[in-house]
């Protein structure tokens, strides 16, 4: 992925506003119905509602049920949120409890103080 990284590097630090209006196609890969998976799904929904209101499509995939998809999509760690659109492809590993990082990872503008909603119960 060096080419992709390069474009990312030379991209302007704050993306133009029209890009924010793009439709997001996201896939969340989880493994089974563990508390971690549930937490990730809840966090993903919450995040999308708050930051992408209405212009997103979120699919949740259980890799236990589709192991070949895990191979094809190069999933190693779960939960992983994959941004298929807008390009480039992005993969975010973790249960999405840190919204600030999710925003950075999805190239979305970060507000002054990002809210963290569901903390991990550790």
């Amino acid at each position: 992925m060096p080419a992709r990284k390069r474009t990312q590097a030379i991209a302007p630090p704050s993306p133009p506003p029209e890009a924010w209006q793009e439709r997001f196609i996201l896939r969340l890969y989880v493994a089974g119905t563990t508390p971690q998976s549930t937490r990730a799904i809840l966090n993903a929904r919450k995040f999308c509602e708050e930051n992408l209101n209405g212009r997103y499509q979120l699919d949740v995939i259980d890799i236990y049920q589709r192991p070949t998809l895990a191979r094809d999509e190069q999933i190693v760690a779960v939960p992983t949120l994959v941004r298929h659109l807008p390009l480039p492809l992005r993969k975010l590993v973790g249960d999405l409890s840190d919204f600030e990082r999710v925003l950075i990872g999805l190239d979305l503008p970060v507000p002054k103080r990002a809210q963290t909603i569901v903390k991990s119960t550790k």
Binding site: A31, I63, P67, A70, R71, V76, D95, L96, R101
Partner: protein
């Protein structure tokens, strides 16, 4: 009843998993549960399951009553199974650690390929660094057709792409994705072997190392529970076996690969750092990545127990055979011929190789100075034609520059060729050049092992040792003379402005060998050994010997002439005396003749006198006279007649 019960239990679990066939984890989970119960039963001798297990084993499987020894999975890699006494621990992960380019991936992939080809054990390769296509290309050079194995579902390569994420993780995670993929891969081909190459790449992609470590620990436990024999490769860190310290989770077997540069020569070495529950060779073993994969040389595993054959091998030079008790060298013995440059060592070696080929055996010559065609040309000048043997594939000439690679590489190559060609005679010409690829101490120890190796295979080894002019020939430069069974010395002596070669047998174990120095000559018809002239003037060779011989011949000639002369003189004398004797005899004869003549004259005179007297008496007419006359006349006549 109990067995049935136990079996039912296992089957029940599997049956319960049936509806969830599509849902992999549940199916797996149930299978796993069955497996764990089985394991627990094995571990706890007092458990209910254990009793059932025992009954099971008694009635059906006939297990051995001894405690279960560690079963091993043979790697199929040449030599590695010798060092590990059978292979890697079965059903457990093994760590293969080493620097970049030390051959970790190749070792791992050969483990899989050989497992698939030779032991019918399918294998999964989880590649974190190279994709499948690259891997297939890379191992073609080792002679493994991975694409074919993949097509036959004996090998499965899953490339795992790790992307670095600057933002880091958005929360907690686990490596279930890896587990699922690995589990799926193992189950899809029924894999018995797994390679993870190299797991530490995960540390580059994931920042939360605490979770990562916990997950890796879980992964190794899970691999054990799966019962697959796994190789996990890792990059070597500073002072630690692995860069990220994953060795603390894989503690059953650790293999360390090393690629060291010594005197500008790189040598690969392998060492078993630890192997739980098994004895193993602990040394550093040199290994080679050749065209048929890895080959490790477990040299110290050889004991001094080789069988000594009693039959002999002719040296190809009849007079040399005569010097060695009349029958030549022992088969399987090692012979060292030591001498300075140009003393005819290679020619001696060529004679031996030629003799072996004549007997219909195979011989192998390692040349470190001449190219094969050069050797053939040069040997033709002394009447040995090696070319037909090369064409008939009885003679293999392997020429290599000593500086081509390190010593270990040379030795491993030599061993490999020896194993492929199966010669009865091996010539290394000269053995001293091998030291060019390493330090002297290394060269010595490795050469000792090489000689041991030849002995165990009952191969007659003929080594030539080039000594510098100033050194004594008895101490071979490599310090291996004590190992040798037969030690021939070819010595140049310089006298009267010429160099001559002398050959003698310094030692020859187990045979009555000649202690005499022979003069050694290279003629058109091969090597000729002559008795050196040993006389009051010392040992003479070459023209000195010839001069001495001429001198002796002339002396003999002189003596001959002298005696001839004396004989001649005697003859002359004899002739003279005989002549004298003849003269005397003539004189005597003359005297005798005179004597006779005088006698005759006397008689004539007497006759005449008688006649005259008679005539006178007649004239006087005296009867008495007349009577007397007739009688007297008759008497004197008779007297005269007598």
């Amino acid at each position: 009843m109990q067995i049935e019960d136990f079996q039912t239990q296992s089957h029940l679990l599997l049956w319960r998993a049936r509806p969830f066939r599509d849902s992999f984890p549940i199916c797996f989970g149930l299978c796993y549960e069955a497996h764990v119960r089985h394991e627990l039963a094995a571990a706890n001798p007092y458990s209910r399951f254990s009793k059932r297990m025992r009954t099971l084993s008694k009635t059906k499987v006939h297990c051995q009553p001894h405690p279960v020894v560690l079963t091993k999975t043979p790697t199929g890699i040449q030599g590695l199974d010798d060092i590990t006494a059978g292979g890697l621990p079965q059903g457990r992960p093994t760590l293969v650690s080493g620097q970049a380019g030390s051959g970790k991936t190749l070792l791992a992939i050969e483990f899989l390929a050989r497992g698939a080809l030779e032991f019918n054990e399918p294998g999964v390769f989880m590649a974190f660094e190279e994709n499948g296509k690259e891997l297939v290309q890379n191992v073609v050079s080792l002679g493994f057709d991975l694409s074919d194995l993949i097509a036959r579902k004996l090998v499965l390569i899953d490339y795992i792409e790790i992307e670095h994420n600057e933002a880091g993780e958005t929360g907690e995670f686990n490596l279930e994705g890896l587990f699922v993929r690995l589990g799926y891969a193992i189950d899809s081909i029924g894999a018995k072997r797994v390679v993870l190459d190299s797991l530490e790449t995960l540390f580059a992609g994931l920042t939360n190392t605490a979770i990562l470590r916990a997950e890796l620990r879980r992964l190794f436990c899970w691999l054990k529970s799966k019962g697959v024999t796994a190789i996990i490769t890792a990059e070597r860190g500073d002072g630690t076996l692995t860069r990220h310290g994953i060795e603390e989770y894989i503690s059953d077997c650790v293999i360390l690969l090393d690629h060291r540069v010594n005197n500008q020569f790189a040598t690969r070495r392998l060492r078993i750092v630890k192997y739980r529950g098994s004895a193993h060779g602990a040394d550093e073993y040199p290994f080679l990545i050749g065209d048929r994969g890895l080959s490790v040389w477990p040299m110290t595993s050889l004991g001094l127990t080789h069988v000594a054959p009693t039959d002999r091998v002719l040296s190809g030079i009849s007079r040399l055979d005569a010097m060695l008790g009349g029958k030549g060298y022992y088969r399987g013995s090692s012979i060292l011929v030591s001498g300075t440059a140009g003393s005819g060592k290679t020619s001696l070696a060529a004679h031996l190789a030629d003799a072996a080929c004549r007997r219909g055996e195979r011989s192998l010559m390692f040349l470190f100075e001449e190219s094969p065609s050069q050797l053939i040309r040069n040997m033709r000048s002394i009447g040995i034609d090696l070319e037909p043997w090369v064409k008939k594939e009885r003679l293999l000439l392997h020429a290599a520059r000593p500086t081509l690679c390190g010593l270990e590489m040379h030795l491993v190559t030599m061993r490999k060729l020896t194993e492929d060609f199966e010669p009865s005679v091996v010539v290394i010409d000269p053995v001293t050049n091998l030291a060019a690829g390493g330090t002297m101490a290394e060269a010595r120890s490795l050469l000792k092992r090489l000689i041991d190796y030849f002995k165990t295979r009952q191969i007659t080894a003929f080594l030539t040792n080039l000594t510098a002019g100033t050194r004594t020939e008895e101490n071979s430069e490599m310090g291996i003379s004590s190992l040798m069974d037969t030690l021939l010395l070819v010595r140049d002596i310089e006298t009267n402005g010429e160099r001559n070669r002398l050959l003698y047998v310094l030692k020859s174990r187990g045979m009555a060998h000649s202690n005499q120095v022979r003069e050694f000559r290279l003629t058109d018809g091969g090597i000729d050994l002559l008795d050196a002239y040993i006389g009051p003037g010392g040992v003479l060779t070459g023209t000195a010997r010839l001069a001495q011989e001429a001198r002796e011949a002339s002396e003999a000639l002189m003596l001959q002439r002298d005696s001839d002369l004396r004989k001649h003189e005697l003859d002359c004398k004899r002739q003279a005396i005989e002549a004298k004797m003849d003269a005397l005899r003539l004189e005597l004869a003359g005297s005798e003749a005179d004597w006779e003549r005088i006698g005759a004259q006397e008689m004539e005179r007497e006759e005449t006198k008688v006649h005259d007297r008679a005539a006178m008496a007649q004239a006087r007419r005296s009867d008495s006279v007349a009577r007397r006359e007739t009688d007297g006349m008759e008497m004197s006549l008779a007297h005269a007649r007598t």
